[in-house]
């Protein structure tokens, strides 16, 4: 497939936003359970939510560039019964609203307990909104990934690994950003967020590596024989019906050499997985406030390459009809 930067930025940016929100809420839960010291600055969660919102909004803006007719974009919520794209378009604004509400509740200090469960667990508005937001974040990961995973003849994508990769890589980048945010503001949670970021990054390495291995060994169901219905071992295309290119030649092929593809794969395998882990480890040792920022920046750049490769790697069966110009 031809990787479209609008979709690459949409999926990676909202992944960071979702991951950061999940990190904030996880931090709040740990604090509630007295596993972490409470935040000194009550606006930690509010500013964190604002950063998540910026990433989500940037993703939304990027998505508009993918539409030929963005002014009709509102229609895209209508087919939620069948289309994962519609489901994503419903869940994404819902998640944005929940993150905004979560940040607003913390900013306005509406964190007095509404009721206390079993005399030990004080439940306030942020806890409830955060729980709904967490569910929605996972729902958004699933709907985004299923847009690709549901296309059964794009066999590279048609796998549960696609969903796991979206969740784990989005989560990893979000927790790395949370670690950077906490270290920068002196929140003291670099160790907590950094540990989770490393765990998620390693888990993402396992599932992404698994999907790379799966795709390398993939046998495509369609061949030139099934594409034109001629049972012969030697079929060669001589003309594709147009001397110049067409939508079909531009949309479904990345147009890069195998060597370029290999370089990009090595680039993202380095930038997404070992480098951020290394930098977070060093940052924890020397208690650096800026090194986690670098870790996040490198990981995000790697994720852009990772998503590019995700699209480029998928071989659409329609390319069987477009092999030689003339």
């Amino acid at each position: 497939m031809h990787p479209a930067f609008s979709v690459i930025f949409l999926t990676t940016l909202i992944g960071v936003g979702q991951g950061l929100f999940l990190a904030l809420y996880t931090g709040q839960l740990y604090t509630l359970a007295n596993l972490l010291p409470p935040q000194h600055d009550p606006r930690f969660y509010a500013v964190g939510s604002l950063i998540a919102l910026v990433f989500l909004a940037a993703g939304l803006v990027a998505s508009i560039f993918h539409l030929g007719r963005p002014e009709r974009g509102w229609r895209a919520a209508s087919q939620w019964r069948t289309s994962w794209l519609s489901r994503e378009i419903i869940v994404l604004p819902l998640f944005v609203v929940l993150v905004a509400a979560y940040g607003a509740v913390h900013y306005l200090g509406w964190t007095q307990p509404l009721f206390v469960v079993s005399d030990t667990l004080p439940v306030d508005a942020s806890l409830i909104i955060g729980a709904v937001g967490t569910l929605t974040a996972f729902l958004l990961f699933v709907t985004t990934a299923m847009i690709y995973a549901c296309l059964k003849f794009l066999q590279e994508w048609h796998s549960p690994l696609t969903v796991f990769n979206f969740i784990l890589l989005g989560g990893a980048s979000g927790f790395t950003l949370a670690a950077a945010f906490s270290a920068y503001t002196g929140g003291g949670l670099l160790g907590f967020y950094g540990t989770w970021a490393v765990i998620l990054t390693l888990a993402g390495f396992i599932t992404r590596g698994w999907s790379l291995r799966r795709n390398r060994r993939l046998r495509h169901k369609s061949s030139l024989q099934t594409a034109i219905g001629v049972r012969h071992s030697h079929i060669e295309q001589k003309a594709q019906g147009a001397m110049g290119g067409s939508f079909n030649t531009r949309e479904f092929f990345h147009g890069r050499s195998p060597a370029a593809l290999r370089t990009i794969r090595q680039f993202f395998l380095l930038m997404v997985f070992p480098l951020p882990v290394l930098l977070l480890g060093v940052a924890y040792q020397i208690q650096s406030g800026t090194l986690p920022m670098v870790a996040f920046a490198l990981q995000y750049a790697g994720l852009v390459a990772e998503r590019w490769y995700f699209f480029a790697e998928a071989r659409h069966p329609q390319n069987l009809y477009y092999q030689h110009i003339s």
Partner: protein, 243 residues
């Protein structure tokens, strides 16, 4: 229930692209139009087509066969492009099984073209909406046309009658008979899309040559003498028509 479809006889198609040009001509001025052409006389011409003829060579020299392969929307009975459309712009008509795009609802997200394994949907890069074969719905239901002309433009244009049009759910229709009796098949059956359009396979044509045909035993020229020449000075046709 009706399922209209095209049947393409690969044994007959000569790859003349008449179906391509007539399709473009009819549809660019019809309900789907205009179908944009960018740089049509320049170095990299490109544009929107509903129908393209591709050419494949089967076998290795000298035992090769050329297959001209026209392909347009196959109007699948279980079209994968329809459920993925986020706006409902892509739909399959219940009454005749034609898969259509509502150009006023399409947001140009291209998801349906990703979901089609056959690559028969093309974005109109000027109008920014998805376009595809309509089976000429504005022809086949036009009661102002004589009955014989209520067919898709490509079918009418085909000089070798390689294209048949009709209801594949009616067991007695010409298209159903052709599929049944001439081994009609669907493309990429492995995906379960059940295309309504079918292809008729190429058939071996064996030429029976007799010995005397090779030896030109019956060559009539052998038995003829030199052509008669006119009398000198006589009037002949050559005087007025010289070649």
């Amino acid at each position: 229930m009706t399922q209209l479809a095209l049947i393409i006889d690969l044994n007959v198609c000569v790859g003349c692209h008449a179906c391509v040009t007539s399709c473009k001509s009819w549809n660019t001025s019809g309900v789907a139009g205009p179908m944009v052409d960018h740089d049509p006389y320049g170095k990299d011409p490109t544009g929107t087509f509903f129908n393209r003829v591709q050419t494949f060579e089967v076998g290795e020299f000298p035992n090769t066969e050329t297959i001209h392969f026209p392909k347009s929307c196959l109007h699948c009975e279980d079209p994968p492009c329809v459920p993925v459309c986020p706006t409902g712009a892509s739909y399959k008509r219940a009454e005749d099984g034609i898969v259509l795009v509502d150009y006023d609802k399409c947001i140009g997200c291209k998801y349906c073209s990703w979901a089609c394994p056959y690559g028969v949907r093309e974005v109109d890069e000027q109008q920014k909406v998805m376009k595809k074969c309509t089976l000429c719905i504005d022809r086949i239901y036009d009661e102002n046309l004589p009955q014989a002309e209520r067919k898709p433009a490509c079918v009418l244009a085909c000089p070798t009658s390689a294209r048949l049009f009709g209801d594949v759910h009616d067991p007695d229709s010409a298209v159903s008979v052709a599929i049944r009796e001439e081994g009609g098949y669907a493309l990429m059956p492995e995906w379960g899309t059940r295309p309504a359009n079918h292809y008729l396979p190429r058939r071996k044509t064996r030429i029976k040559l007799h010995e005397d045909e090779l030896a030109r035993a019956d060559n009539p020229l052998r038995k003829e003498g030199p052509l008669p020449e006119p009398e000198p000075g006589a009037q002949s046709l050559d005087d007025v028509m010289s070649w």
